[in-house]
Structures are given as C-alpha cells and as structure tokens.
C-alpha cells in the first residue's frame, strides 16, 4: 500500500484541522442527547396542513410507499411512526409497499412499534405489509393499474387471503398514497404514475434535503396535496398525534449542531478578514 501524499500545511484560523471540528461535533451532538434541554417545539403551518389532510381520510385506506434508503429513516422513521399512530387513532387502514428493496424490512420493523398488541388479530385487516415491488417506475405503473398483480405480501401470503385488499383492485381505490421521499426521482415517479393519470391523491413525507425540490409540486390543487418535512416536521407530527417519540428528543441535539456550524462559518470568515480577504 502506498502512503497518501499529505503535505504539511500552515496552522491558522482559516484552516483548523477538520478532525478537531469533527470531534467537537461529536460532543455537541452527544451531550444534549444525554441531557435534553427541552426547547419548546412550534407546529408549522405545513405540518398542520398535512395532519388535517391525513385525518380527512378517516375510515378509508391509504398506501404508504417506503421508497427510502436506510439513512433516510433517521427522519422518515419518526414520521412513519407518527403517521401509523394517526392512522390507528383515526381508523385509517394502511397498506405498506415500496419500490426500494428494503421496503418490506422497514415495514417489518415499524409496524410492530404501533400495532404489536393487535398483530395476530388485525394483520391483513387494518394493516398489511406488501413488501418490495421491483422495477421502479415500471413497477409503479403495474401496481397502480392492477394492485393484485403483485400476488403476495412480504411474508408470502397470497393477496386473496388478505381482507384489506378485497376492495383494492387499482390505485383509484386508495384515498391517499403517502410517499416517503428520499430523493427527487421516486416522488416524481409516483406523481407520474399515480397522480397524473388520476388514480389517487398524494401526500409526501420528506427529508429536509429533498423538500426544497418538491416545493413546486406542493399545493391543494397540485400533485402533492400536503407535505411534512424533516426531523422538525416529525417532532411536530408526534406532538399533534399525541405520541411523543424519538424526533422530539432529537431536536435539541440538532439545534446545538447548527449553532456549532454557524460558529465555524463565522470563524472562517473572520480569519478571512484578518488575512485581507485573500484565499
């Protein structure tokens, strides 16, 4: 193995060793996790919209499309839990699917968090885990046109044995599809295959990263009816659903990490001023 050619560099305010910054970040995030400060959380209008729209589906059936990578679960996982709680409290049936090949396993992890006490009796009636559907956009078209084309759920049980699927023959029998957005591609695929042909309406649960790209599509008369964003949105949703969880605990740590970032950006710029604005 060859040794990387790292050159010696001057030490100063504009070039603090990255590893020192990283160590500081570890402490700044870790300490509030151990000792929460408990800053109050305000519910933003977008999250309230999302909550009201979801509750309007009372008594209906919604599909949750878990198209995220594991890393997205940091934000989408708390959102998913809160949405499942809301669905259970408002008597909404949920169908969990996904075009990411992890989808079945996520559902397997998150459904018991909410439904563990009624798993044996209500699985297939109130909630179902249909698992992974291959093929990306092509697979979405297949599911939207003919829901029964996927033949069995994640655990291999035939779809005709599941009472919840009895009346769900195409996507138009769904009240909403909630897309768990991790990148901009998959939500747009859902818009193209589920919303534009008029099958069903769409809600978005998105990471803070992808939310800006979804902005032009969000609105009561546009493709995405309402959206919830990021860890802050998850915390607000937990507050609204009345089941406080992981997200509310994480917001303090997030606040402090941002303060650290702001400090470092300011430090970098101060160093720049002292050196006369040259790089």
């Amino acid at each position: 193995m060859t040794t990387p050619n790292i050159e010696k560099k001057k030490i100063g305010l504009t070039n603090i060793d990255s590893r020192i910054i990283w160590l500081l970040l570890l402490f700044v995030v870790g300490i509030p996790l151990l000792n929460p400060i408990g800053l109050p959380v305000q519910v933003s209008p977008t999250t309230r919209d999302f909550h009201n729209t979801l509750r309007s589906a009372q008594g209906g059936v919604i599909a949750l499309a878990l198209d995220t990578d594991p890393a997205g679960l940091a934000e989408l996982g708390p959102q998913l839990t809160a949405i499942l709680h809301l669905a259970r409290d408002n008597n909404i049936k949920v169908i969990l699917v996904g075009w990411n090949n992890n989808a079945g396993f996520y559902a397997d992890t998150y459904l018991p968090k909410v439904f563990s006490d009624v798993w044996e009796t209500r699985y297939g009636i109130d909630f179902v885990n249909l698992g992974f559907i291959p093929g990306g956009e092509t697979g979405m078209k297949q599911f939207a046109e003919d829901t029964w084309s996927i033949t069995s759920d994640h655990y291999g049980e035939s779809i005709s044995q599941l009472p919840i699927m009895e009346n769900i023959r195409t996507a138009s029998d769904l009240d909403y599809i909630i897309e768990f957005c991790w990148n901009i591609d998959l939500p747009q695929n859902i818009m193209r295959q589920f919303v534009a042909p008029g099958y069903t309406k769409m809600l978005a649960a998105s990471t803070a990263l992808v939310y800006p790209s979804l902005l032009p599509f969000i609105g009561p008369d546009k493709s995405i009816v309402a959206a919830v964003k990021g860890l802050d949105g998850a915390a607000q949703l937990e507050l609204l659903s009345g089941h406080p969880g992981e997200a509310l605990k994480g917001t303090d740590a997030q606040s402090l990490a941002h303060i650290l970032l702001i400090i470092f950006i300011v430090l970098g710029n101060i160093g720049l001023i002292f050196r006369g604005g040259k790089r």
Partner: protein
C-alpha cells in the same frame, strides 16, 4: 442486567466506521469489506425472494408467462463473455430502458411541464393584499429568470446579462435554502446513530474507543505521520 448483543455489535460497527475520520485503517477496511459483501448478498436474497413469489409460485399454478422475464434476465450474463454473442446482454437493457424512458417522458411532460406552466399562470396577481401580490410576482420572476441562467447557445450579452444576474440571485437563494435542508438532514442521521450508541449499552464502548484512538494517535506521532489536515 442482560447483555444486548445487538446494540453492542451495532455500536461497535458505528465506531469502526467513524475511525475512518481519523484516517484509513485496518478496522475501517474490515467494516468496509463486510458491508460491501453484505450489500451484494442482501440484494441477491431480496431478488430471489421476489422471484419466488412472483415467478415460481404462480408458475406452480400454471401461470408460466412470467418465465419470459427469467429468460430475458439471464441474457445479462452474456456481458461477461467475449465473442460474437456478447451483444445479447443489450436486449434486457433495452427492455428496461425502453419502458423506463417511455413512461418517464410521457409523465414528465404532464407533471414537470404542463402542470408547472399552469401553476405559474394561475397565480393570483390582482385582488389580493399588496404584500401577497408582490410575493406572487417573486415566484414568476424567479421561474423566468432562472430558466435563463442555464441558456447555452447564445453569449451572455445585453439584456440577457442582467436577466442572468437576477436569475443567479434567485438561484443562490434557493441553494441557501437547500443548503440548510441538507445540513439538517445530515445532522438527523448523525443524531440517530449517536442515539443508538448513547441510549443503550453501547455507551460502555465509548471509553474503549477513545483509548484506542489515543493509542493510534500516539503511534502515528512517534512515527512522524501525524499531520495538520484541512
């Protein structure tokens, strides 16, 4: 108190990955290898399970039409051969691309073009409070000028130069907004990882990790390989 092996292994793995932040080392290399192998195996397992559910089980009931996909799929192997039949691997590729591109194009024109134009020209521009009207004009101005920032076939002269400047202003606003979102998302992921370590038995491993790190730094310093890095 029972030992939770799952959390201990998980915490150890997280710290082994973070050791890359100091520098590339044998611990990281082992984790990297384990993950690369695991991710390949996982996809194979999931794919086999999907095939069992969608091809094998219906096949037992006489629906053999899905075996077409197996025949097409096997052609991917031809990519590895050298010879006059290598081109056969492009047949499944062309199936996947043809359907994917066709579906994408048809829907894209509706969702990303027609709907967006409609949304822009139906923004209320009269009969609302003045603040809202000005804000609505901001949307239109942003859409129009940003489109010109990426205009390639004519030089940026005359009026186009000023349009581009306004466009870049809006672009920077958007990038700033997106920058904030990016940071928040990344920090949430970090928080979720540290929660796993700190909220369970993984916290026992933290002192051990720092001791190992200190030993590593000491040896690097002795060998003269400890450099200021930025």
């Amino acid at each position: 108190m029972a030992i939770d092996t799952g959390v201990l292994v998980a915490s150890a793995l997280i710290m082994m990955i973070y050791s890359f932040l100091y520098r590339e080392n044998i611990v990281f290399r082992i984790t990297e290898g384990a993950f690369v192998g695991a991710s390949v195996a996982r996809i194979i397992v999931v794919n086999l399970d999907t095939l069992r559910k969608s091809v094998w089980v219906p096949g037992l009931q006489g629906e053999i039409i899905w075996y077409i996909s197996v025949i097409l799929g096997i052609l991917y192997v031809m990519m590895l051969t050298e010879g006059s039949y290598k081109w056969l691997y492009r047949i499944p590729v062309s199936f996947v691309l043809g359907s994917g591109l066709g579906l994408a194009l048809a829907g894209m024109i509706k969702v990303s073009l027609i709907d967006q134009i409609k949304a822009t020209i139906t923004i209320p521009l009269v009969g609302a409070p003045i603040g809202e009207i000005l804000s609505n004009w901001t949307i239109i101005l942003a859409t129009a000028t940003v489109t010109f920032v990426f205009y390639f076939t004519s030089p940026r002269e005359g009026i186009l130069k000023y349009i581009t400047i306004i466009g870049r202003l809006f672009l920077m606003t958007y990038l700033g907004y997106q920058f904030a979102g990016t940071i928040m998302m990344r920090e949430s992921v970090l928080i979720s990882q540290l929660t796993i370590i700190l909220k369970g038995q993984g916290i026992w491993l933290v002192p051990l990790a720092f001791i190992l790190l200190a030993i590593g730094i000491y040896y690097d310093w002795k060998k003269g390989q400890l450099h200021w890095m930025n």
